[in-house]
């Protein structure tokens, strides 16, 4: 009986645990997904402490005050997850709305009309991938009425792969095309102008290869044999912005020979890619796998070998360095002024500007291609002839510059050999060219730097000398005022500082070399500052000495007079201070000052004072004995343990 009961309890516990572990939890409240924050409800479960979305998901971002004031970024989405993988139907809405001018009351609610743009996307997801028909619709709204369909695309997917035919419409064009079962673009993709309902562009794919582009304008038909058609090595890539970039690059390469094709299809495909990206981004932000509809195309591929990878790397590095130099020199305020008056500077400045636009620009392009990962989709020879076109001169550069309304022209040479450009399709030559450009820029930089430096140094010296003069004046004033209120040895010592200051500055004025002057002036500013400090320090001596005297005075009860009497304590210490140290230090200030030992003297004066105050409470019996026969100030400094440097 008992056993059966126990089993029952055990079983019930087990079931509870299982049911608990499978229990879906529910969240309702504010939630943030990427840049969107809004009221969100979702089901989830906890797996090893991680939140796993599981069940319905619904989110909406809408801000009424914002809508009424400056407009609102609306967002809503609804769908389901299974183990954090999007499944089933998903509906997205992205809006940019302003409040319309109509307001209605109904069902005890205000209804506010809206105007703006609404992008809605709807489709099925299977195992995290689009499956079945996906529609993107972008509409213009005016007072809650649709005024225009701005964009619409309908695609069929099978496990993320677009199938069969598709259609994209925007305000100007409609694009019709189709895919093979494996997602490769196939057959004819036609672009129609809505206005004329006639075909304006026609791309002919064959299993992902773009063979031909027909462009119709009026009665003209232009045909482009697209680069993808030949037998080169192909790579299957996604029809996304990178593909468009590659096409763009090819178009650039062709531009000089064929300018009549507008590649209108880019625009609509780009728009399409952008809308899909928006939806994909939400899934990514929710932690689901990124969902990219795989529209596949084939492109020619020219992979870089290890050597070429290194070469591209060096080119990019040279370009980066060159850009730093050009940016720095071209934006230097001083050079911009100097070039107006100085012919040499004007020439060099203009040379930098010319190198920047003529020689550095093609290299910069290469750098950008590599950055965008499209470099390997263009042949080396195409690249080279695109970057360093035959008609252009990359071996010498004519620099024109104007000084005092006179225009001059000079030619600069690069170390690149003309034949090496014509003959080869290798990246090595671009690398050599980038090195030559950098070298040239560095040479100009070092020459201009010395000019900047000279100007800067003169300015620096002017500033230092102003400071020097100011310090000198301050010292004079200070000494004059302090010397009048202090007489005797102190007054004399303070006065001597003015003489010292004058001597030091007059030595300086004999210097001719600008660097020497800068170095010395810099030191002298500090030196005069220190002299100022020292003057103050010396002027403090009488007061400090009085304090020390007072401190070394004890009040002693004299029973014979019944009075308290001052009694000097630690007399040898005090006497060493008054009769040996102070006269010595003042003598040093008067006769042995250099800029180098000023700090030491200031420190000694300060430290002597603080040490004397410390000694009052220390046991000095031994010290007093030693001091009795000591007249050497250096020895006394050591005996009293007065540090010669500023205490930290």
């Amino acid at each position: 009986m008992v056993l059966r009961f126990s089993i029952l309890i055990l079983l019930s516990c087990l079931t509870t645990t299982v049911s608990l572990s499978q229990n879906s939890l529910h969240y309702a409240g504010p939630y943030r997904v990427g840049s969107y924050t809004g009221k969100t409800e979702f089901d989830y479960k906890l797996l090893d402490g991680d939140t796993v979305l599981h069940g319905d998901f619904e989110m909406q971002q809408a801000d009424l005050p914002s809508l009424l004031k400056q407009g609102d970024d609306f967002f809503s989405c609804r769908g389901s997850f299974m183990n954090h993988v999007p499944v089933g139907e998903w509906i997205f809405e992205f809006g940019k709305f302003n409040a319309g001018d109509r307001l209605e009351l109904g069902n005890y609610k205000y209804k506010v009309n809206i105007s703006g743009t609404l992008h809605s996307a709807k489709g099925m997801m299977l195992d995290g991938k689009p499956h079945g028909e996906w529609t993107h619709l972008v509409q213009h709204l005016d007072n809650s009425s649709v005024t225009e369909n701005v964009f619409k695309s309908v695609f069929n997917f099978e496990s993320g792969i677009p199938q069969r035919s598709f259609r994209i419409d925007n305000t100007d064009y409609s694009l019709l095309g189709r895919f093979l079962r494996d997602g490769l673009a196939h057959d004819v993709w036609s672009l129609y102008a809505n206005e004329t309902a006639s075909e304006v562009e026609n791309w002919q794919f064959s299993e992902g290869n773009l063979n031909k582009i027909y462009s119709y304008s009026g009665s003209n038909t232009d045909t482009i044999n697209a680069y993808m058609a030949d037998q080169a090595v192909k790579q299957v890539i996604t029809l996304d912005d990178r593909y468009i970039s590659i096409l763009e690059l090819h178009r650039e390469l062709l531009q000089h020979s064929d300018t009549s094709v507008n590649y209108l299809m880019y625009g609509i495909l780009e728009q399409h890619a952008e809308y899909y990206k928006q939806v994909s981004q939400i899934f990514t932000n929710l932690g689901a796998k990124s969902f990219t509809p795989a529209f596949k195309v084939k492109v020619k591929h020219f992979p870089l070998n290890d050597q070429e990878v290194q070469q591209v790397k060096s080119i990019r590095s040279n370009v980066d360095h060159s850009e730093i130099i050009t940016e720095r020199l071209l934006n230097n305020a001083q050079l911009n002024l100097l070039k107006l008056a100085d012919e040499e500077v004007a020439y060099q400045y203009s040379a930098v500007a010319a190198i920047n636009s003529e020689w550095l620009e093609p290299l910069r392009k290469l750098s950008r291609y590599d950055e965008r990962d499209i470099l390997t989709y263009i042949s080396r020879s195409d690249l080279l002839s695109h970057l360093l076109p035959a008609g252009k001169n990359f071996t010498s550069l004519e620099v024109t510059y104007t000084v005092d309304n006179q225009t001059y022209t000079q030619v600069i040479e690069s170390s690149l050999k003309k034949e090496s450009i014509d003959r080869s399709d290798s990246l090595i030559h671009l690398k050599i060219f980038s090195e030559a450009v950098l070298e040239r820029l560095e040479a100009i930089q070092s020459s201009l730097d010395s000019r900047i430096l000279k100007q800067e140094r003169q300015a620096e010296l002017d500033q230092l000398e102003r400071a020097l003069y100011q310090r000198m004046k301050l010292l004079d004033q200070r000494v004059d005022s302090l010397a009048t209120i202090n007489d005797g040895a102190i007054g004399k010592t303070i006065s001597s500082l003015k003489i010292t200051g004058n001597e030091i500055v007059s030595e300086y004025s004999e210097l001719k070399d600008i660097s020497e002057r800068i170095n010395r002036a810099d030191q002298l500013v500090n030196c005069l500052d220190s002299l100022n400090t020292l003057a103050l320090e010396v002027s403090e001596v009488p007061a400090r000495s009085a304090v020390i005297n007072q401190e070394y005075m004890d009040r002693v009860w004299n029973p014979f007079t019944s009075t308290l009497m001052d009694e000097q304590i630690k007399k040898p210490v005090l006497e060493a201070y008054e009769n040996i140290l102070l006269p010595y230090l003042l003598e040093q200030v008067q006769n042995n000052i250099t800029c180098d030992n000023l700090g030491e003297l200031i420190a000694q004066l300060k430290n002597t004072n603080s040490r004397m105050l410390e000694l009052k409470t220390e046991n000095t019996r031994k010290l007093e004995r030693k001091l009795k026969n000591q007249n050497d100030p250096i020895e006394v400094l050591q005996l009293l343990k007065i540090p010669a440097a500023e205490a930290n």
């Binding site: 009040r555 009860w557 007079t561 009075t563 009694e567």
Partner: protein
């Protein structure tokens, strides 16, 4: 100081019709005054006086007269009042040695003193009341102790000369007058034992050491016959010392007596 030796050989019964002032004798006193600080308020008074007096051939320092040891504990009640209590052992030398007489005899005292200090302007005025209970004896072998009380009042000034206040390295002048009265069975017609007029010139070396010297005129009735008045001229030398034997930590904070 006390002068208590009874001159003998004098006809006590012979009473003149007028008081008779004797020729002054001369003396030399060398006195040390110790005032040793024990605690914040207690001092140990330790005085040793060496007293000489003239002989026929030598004025002032002809012979020993007394060696005097005075000790007491002194309590510093306030800056203005000090109270002391102690004892004295004085050794009296026989200055008129006769046959069968002892050369020295001891004399014992118990004494207490109340000294009031008053600062007036730049100088100090002290009023000292000293009461002594005194047991003395003659030099003859079978001499008994006689007991007397002494009532002493002294007024003393200390006037700084070279400094505005009494302090270290100060010269001062100190006029003083002390009247010593006595009572007791042996005192019949000589209550005024001594009147001392003394002025000294002192130098305070530091609060712990002072030296002074001065001249004193004194006059008083003889114990045996009140009609006779002794006179003395005394040269006096004083050394005042006041060491502080407390540990350093006990000295802090110094007592300033409400200053």
């Amino acid at each position: 100081m006390i002068f208590s030796i009874i001159s003998r050989g004098q006809d006590v019964d012979q009473r003149p019709s007028e008081s008779e002032i004797k020729e002054p004798a001369t003396r030399l006193w060398i006195n040390t005054y110790g005032n040793i600080r024990l605690t914040k308020r207690l001092f140990w008074i330790a005085q040793t006086h060496f007293r000489f007096q003239e002989t026929e051939n030598t004025p002032f320092a002809g012979q020993w007269a007394q060696i005097y040891n005075r000790h007491a504990i002194s309590y510093l009640y306030s800056k203005n009042l000090t109270v002391s209590l102690g004892g004295v052992l004085r050794v009296n030398f026989n200055t008129d040695e006769m046959e069968n007489e002892r050369r020295t005899v001891p004399e014992w005292r118990i004494w207490h003193q109340y000294q009031f200090a008053m600062p007036i302007s730049r100088f100090m005025v002290y009023h000292r009341l000293r009461i002594e209970h005194r047991w003395s004896q003659g030099f003859s072998d079978n001499s008994d102790y006689i007991f007397r009380n002494r009532w002493r009042y002294m007024v003393r000034f200390k006037i700084p000369l070279n400094k505005p206040k009494l302090g270290s390295q100060t010269w001062y002048i100190s006029p003083e007058a002390e009247l010593i009265m006595q009572s007791g069975q042996p005192v019949i017609d000589s209550p005024m034992e001594d009147l001392r007029l003394h002025t000294s010139l002192g130098y305070i070396i530091n609060p712990r050491l002072t030296v002074a010297t001065g001249f004193m005129y004194s006059q008083g009735q003889e114990l045996a016959n009140g009609a006779f008045y002794k006179q003395r001229y005394t040269l006096r030398f004083h050394v005042y010392f006041s060491p502080d034997i407390r540990k350093v930590k006990d000295k802090l904070p110094p007592i300033h007596m409400g200053e």
